[in-house]
Subunit: 229 residues, 2 copies
């Protein structure tokens, strides 16, 4: 009996010592896990602009998951490495089911091609934009509409000034960047790419609120004139 008690005490002591020894590793693992989530690392990325001008043809021509593989290297003279723009394109082109865009200004040809590519692949694309900016020369909105993508816009005096996208209802892309070549190549801008359930839910609710409010059945044509009657 006495001997067993000593054995138990010895085992308990060794166990306690081992547990204390392992504590820092366990805490480190817990901290890392807090950032990562259970299965795979959650995407968290910050892009700063202006972006280096790089060739984005490989991204924009590659078939979704076709058997033919990536296209032959582009012969243009631009650098072919990564850039903030190529990373933004990559985050968008990852869409498989849905893409919500809520953008004040959209005139970048590369981002326009990416959105059309997703539409062709069967991704459900919906676009909310600002009525003032979409009428400007170079806006991509007309091209997206011609391609059959649903677009809704405001009709009021305030600006629809958001610049966010939601990929597959899983990843939020938001920041200061308007989707114009001027902004991408010349401005100081930031874009957050966040795989974050809570933020996605809140921004998706905002998107659906605005989508419903900008329903074309509610548009009042020539409101200015009507008011004068």
């Amino acid at each position: 009996m006495e001997r067993l008690r000593w054995q138990v005490a010895a085992v308990a002591t060794v166990g306690l010592a081992l547990a204390l020894e392992a504590l820092p590793s366990v805490l480190r693992w817990l901290r890392a896990w807090r950032r990562r989530g259970w299965q795979s690392p959650l995407r968290r990325e910050v892009l700063f602009f202006p972006s280096q001008v790089t060739c984005t043809e490989a991204l924009l021509q590659a078939p979704s998951k076709g058997p033919s593989g990536p296209p032959a290297g582009c012969p243009c003279s631009l650098p072919h490495g990564e850039s903030s723009l190529s990373r933004l394109l990559g985050a968008l082109l990852a869409a498989r089911a849905s893409l919500e865009l809520c953008l004040f200004a959209f005139s970048s040809p590369q981002l326009g091609r990416a959105v059309q590519l997703l539409h062709q692949r069967g991704v459900r694309v919906r676009v909310i934009t600002d009525c003032d900016y979409m009428a400007l020369n170079g806006s991509q909105i007309g091209l997206l509409r011609k391609a059959g993508i649903q677009v809704r816009h405001d009709q009021d005096l305030g600006y629809m000034h958001h610049k966010f996208a939601i990929v597959d209802k899983k990843v939020l892309i938001t920041g200061s960047l308007n989707w114009t070549t001027q902004a991408i190549q010349n401005n100081r801008e930031n874009v957050l790419i966040m795989e974050d359930e809570e933020y996605v839910r809140l921004f998706l609710e905002e998107f659906e609120r605005i989508w419903e409010e900008f329903n074309p059945t509610k548009y009042t044509f020539f409101p200015q004139k009507k008011r004068n009657h």
Copy 2:
């Protein structure tokens, strides 16, 4: 000996059963902890605009931690509840040591007063802004400079289009919102308030990069004229 073994086995079984019973709670706690961090809940907030117009006098007149308590209720006719603007003001006015502002446009009188209040309280305020917007009528930048706050600006063709603030090197405030009354009251905008070590570090690095690049000793006066010589 035999009896002791049975006792140990019984205790072990009960222990295991209790542990399994507690597992879902432990997992729930772990998940919640992953979001919160160790000590206190980390601030994570999304503000959407346009903001309801509310009275912000109580926020802007209250002494930092003075003994006199909050001022008497403001007699104005505006609602006195919370709004996106009042929550943004609250997040800024929480600053105790430092405030970095990196803002394309800054003309909101309320936000200007909040920044001056922090400066008076001894908070180290630094402002980076865009040279085109700061020259416009109604910009707060001149008032901030007169109050003795350091301001630096770009000199190039691109816009300094960021709209972020860093409070006490601990909380990042960023989004689509320019700090103008037009944007606050009329536009669709978003602002994220994030107590997040990694994002704060990345945005602070961006701030310091720009702060150094916009050092007045590097300004070239009348660059256009010089180029013609």
